[in-house]
C-alpha cells in the first residue's frame, strides 16, 4: 500500500486529502438527494430510481 501511495502522481498529500474530502462530501450529498431526501417532491421525482436501487422508500 505504501508503494502505491508514493506512485500516485506524486501529488502533495494535503491536496489529495482536499480532493478526497470534497468528492466524498459532494458524493454523499448527491446520493442523499437521490436516495434519502425526505422532501415529497424529491421523493416523487426519484421514486422509481429509489425502488430500483433498493433505497428504503416511503
Amino acid at each position: 500500500m505504501t508503494t502505491n501511495t508514493l506512485v500516485l502522481t506524486g501529488t502533495r498529500s494535503n491536496e489529495r486529502l482536499g480532493a478526497v474530502l470534497m468528492a466524498a462530501f459532494l458524493g454523499l450529498g448527491l446520493v442523499f438527494m437521490a436516495g434519502f431526501a425526505p422532501a415529497m417532491a424529491l421523493h416523487n421525482a426519484a421514486h422509481d430510481f429509489r425502488h430500483a436501487q433498493n433505497f428504503p422508500c416511503h
Binding site: T11, L30, F36, H47, D48, H51, C57
Partner: protein, 259 residues
C-alpha cells in the same frame, strides 16, 4: 486533482446512468407501475407510514393522497383540500425524472468511488475501478438487500426512518469491513472486518412485510432479482468508466495531475 476527480466522476456517472436507466425502463419500471395498480386498489393504510418526520399539520394530508396516487394518478384531489405534493406526470415526465435521479445517484456514487480509490492510495484504472465498484455493490446493494429486500410499492412494513437508519448502518459497516479485509489484511483487521460484515445482520433489520398482499409474489421476486442485477451493472459501469475517464482526462491535460 480535484477537477480530474470530478470530471471522471461526471463521465462515469453519466455513462452508468445511461445504461442503468435503460435497464430500469426495461426491467423494473413496468413492475413498479404494475404494483401501483394493486396498491391503488388498497385502502390508505400504508400511507401513514411514510409521512416525513415532523410533518406540519398542513402536509399531513399529502401522504394520505400520495399513498395511492404517487403512481402518477391524481384522481384523489378534491376541492377545498390541500393539493398533493408535486409529482412528475405519468409517462414521459416520470421517465425523465427517473433518468435524472439515476444520473444524480450515479455521479454521487462515482464521486464516492473516486474518493475511496484516492484515499486508499490506488491509481484509478478500469481494473482498480472495477474492484472497488464490486465492493461498492456489496456495501450499498447486496448487504442492505439481505435484510431489506428490494420492495415494490405497497410492500412496505417498518417505519421509513428505521429502515433508512439500518440501511445506512449496514452500508457503512460493510464498506468498513471490506476495507479492513481487502486492504488492511492483518489478522486482527480481518477478524474485525468479519465482525463488521456480520454485525448488522445479527442486530437484525427492521421487519419486512408479512402481510398478505394482492400483489402476485412472482412480481416481488422478479423485482428483487432484477433490482440487484441492475445495481451490479450500475456499479460495474461506474467503476470501469471512472478508471477509463480518469486516465483519459489526465492524458488530455497532464497539468491537472500535478497541479
Amino acid at each position: 486533482m480535484m477537477i480530474r476527480l470530478v470530471s471522471a466522476a461526471l463521465v462515469a456517472g453519466f455513462l452508468a446512468a445511461v445504461v442503468a436507466t435503460g435497464l430500469q425502463f426495461a426491467l423494473t419500471s413496468p413492475l413498479i407501475i404494475a404494483a401501483e395498480r394493486y396498491e391503488s386498489g388498497e385502502a390508505t393504510a400504508p400511507a401513514a407510514q411514510w409521512m416525513p418526520r415532523g410533518a406540519s399539520p398542513a402536509s399531513l394530508i399529502v401522504p394520505v393522497h400520495s399513498g395511492h396516487d404517487h403512481g402518477g394518478k391524481t384522481d384523489g384531489v378534491e376541492g377545498g383540500e390541500v393539493a398533493p405534493a408535486w409529482q412528475p406526470g405519468p409517462g414521459l415526465p416520470r421517465m425523465v425524472f427517473t433518468a435524472l435521479a439515476t444520473l444524480v445517484g450515479g455521479v454521487g456514487y462515482a464521486l464516492l468511488l473516486g474518493a475511496t480509490l484516492i484515499a486508499c492510495g490506488r491509481e484509478p484504472s478500469p481494473e482498480t475501478g472495477l474492484r472497488f465498484a464490486i465492493a461498492g455493490f456489496l456495501a450499498v446493494a447486496l448487504a442492505p438487500a439481505l435484510g431489506l429486500p428490494p420492495e415494490l410499492p405497497g410492500m412496505e412494513a417498518a417505519p421509513l426512518a428505521e429502515r433508512q437508519f439500518w440501511w445506512i448502518m449496514t452500508a457503512a459497516a460493510t464498506a468498513m469491513g471490506l476495507y479492513l479485509i481487502a486492504i488492511r489484511r492483518s489478522p486482527i483487521a480481518i477478524a474485525g472486518g468479519i465482525v463488521l460484515l456480520v454485525a448488522p445482520h445479527l442486530a437484525g433489520a427492521p421487519e419486512t412485510s408479512h402481510a398478505a398482499s394482492a400483489l402476485p409474489p412472482g412480481y416481488a421476486a422478479q423485482f428483487a432479482a432484477r433490482s440487484l442485477g441492475i445495481a451490479f451493472v450500475f456499479w460495474a459501469v461506474i467503476g470501469l468508466a471512472f478508471g477509463w475517464a480518469w486516465n483519459s482526462v489526465g492524458r488530455k491535460n497532464p497539468a491537472t495531475s500535478h497541479a
